[in-house]
């Protein structure tokens, strides 16, 4: 593993407090005890300081979703190594975590407002409070005028905005996002990345962001973790020393952005080919 050693300003400013997320030598198999166990994740270690935004990139099937599911407590398979979220073992329904999937998974029988409030409703936030907060978040993602519309009346981009509102309305300190913009067209994606950056700057969550899009990873993150093809191992942990606040659109013409892109691309290629 060729861990980058440069210390970016972002990392230096992070307090030495306990990490928000810590993986220590995580190894995980599916179908352990069966004839053909699948080694999905192989000795992965990384940690996130509170408020850090880290992207996870790697070839399909390298265990990115598995790691997120483990952090959420959705997976109950045996694993080796230590996993901590805010110092505690993962458990399902942890109110400290908000999870966002690739597909918007809006409930079609609820309005945008009802969907934005859904997470809070499940977690027992009182009705007036959650309505107010959901509306506030819808305004922040630019859907203020669409609060009473049903998902069928929203475009893909708008639906994903609504899912963002639902996620941020939860006010959890840790955000896990699994290719949230993977299904969007390039232009909509850039717009939503900026929406996400605005939300993140305002709410300062710890984010693990899974993506296949290197440009997206660089534009959003403090660090990018590159994984190899299955079994997923860490190849590199690359700090992104671009100044914040960033505009994802403006970065597209920044040369440092393109240097980082080339560097990560090389690492990723190596991870795809360089494996037994």
């Amino acid at each position: 593993m060729n861990r980058m050693t440069a210390t970016p300003p972002a990392e230096a400013s992070v307090s030495p407090a306990a990490p928000a997320i810590a993986l220590n030598d995580l190894t995980m198999r599916f179908g352990a005890g069966t004839e053909t166990p699948v080694l999905a994740v192989d000795r992965v270690s990384f940690s996130l300081a509170p408020g850090e935004f880290v992207s996870l990139v790697g070839p399909s099937g390298c265990g990115k979703t598995t790691i997120l599911n483990l952090l959420t407590g959705l997976l109950h398979e045996e694993h080796e190594g230590d996993v901590r979220v805010l110092g505690k073992k993962p458990r399902s329904g942890n109110p400290d975590i908000a999870y966002m999937l690739a597909r918007d998974s809006l409930l079609p029988w609820r309005t945008a407002l009802g969907n934005a409030a859904f997470g809070m409703e499940v977690r027992g936030v009182a009705r007036p409070e959650r309505q107010a907060r959901a509306l506030e978040l819808l305004k922040q993602v630019g859907l203020g005028d669409f609060a009473d519309k049903y998902p069928k009346a929203l475009s893909h981009g708008m639906r994903q905005r609504c899912a963002l509102a639902r996620t941020f309305a939860l006010d959890s300190t840790v955000l896990l996002m699994d290719e949230p913009f993977g299904a969007l067209d390039a232009q909509t994606k850039l717009t939503l990345e900026d929406v996400l950056m605005d939300l993140w700057s305002a709410h300062r969550k710890t984010v693990v962001f899974v993506t296949h899009d290197l440009a997206e990873a660089i534009a959003l993150s403090d660090r990018v973790i590159v994984m190899s093809a299955r079994p997923g191992r860490m190849i590199a942990d690359v700090p992104v020393d671009l100044p914040r606040p960033r505009s994802v659109r403006k970065l597209q013409t920044d040369h440092r952005f393109h240097d980082l892109y080339a560097q990560l691309w090389g690492l990723l290629e190596q991870g795809v080919t360089n494996d037994e």
Partner: protein, 251 residues
Amino acid sequence: MSKTVRLTLGHVVFIAAFIGLWEFLSARGILDPTFFGRPSGIVMYLWNGFIVERNLWTDLFYTILAATIAFWGGSLAAILVGLLFAMLPRVHRACEPYLTLFNSMPRIALAPLFLLWFGLGIGSKIALAVSLTFFIVLSSTVAGIKGVNSDHLVLSRALGAKPGQVFFKVTLPSAVPIIFSGLRLGLVYALLGVVGAELIAAEHGLGQVLAYLQSTFDMDGVMALLFLLALLGLSITIAMNYLERKLLVWQ
């Protein structure tokens, strides 16, 4: 002229022409009224039945009453059993072969049995109608609950939803459209079951009147009854469409 007005006008003209031709051919003796009835005769029959002698009201009432009871009873039981199956998949698996067996049976064949058990009153036709409606609504309830989007379940579990919350906030609402299409079909079949049982034997009911008219070769009456039944079926469909639009605005 707007499009809908033109369309309605077109239908009116077509129906008028159709009835006029029918009447004309019957009057000329080209179409034998003994087999096809005759529009003026049909109108006369309905006039007599509903306005002069008023005997058809009773039969209409009994048919609608039986179909309504069968529909509500059968659907309610079916939805409850469907929910039970969703909660206890093992019970569902155990019951499935028997349900399939019963459901594959041509239900109308049960009419003689039900007549013996429940007599010529309203009971036997309700039983037959329930035996149709129940299975239709049950299978749509089961299908609806199984068809829940797995992303929604993952999301709910990640949020920490309790099983009751998942059921009432996700599974059940997502099943409503499919359950509703089952209910719509169930209502049509409730009417079918009731009229079918009445045709075989009953004290009252449109089916019983129809069988009697047929046996006395009163073709005007038979045609009038068929028209009435079609009208009944149509109003059910219209009512269900209306309800669906109100209930499922989000679709």
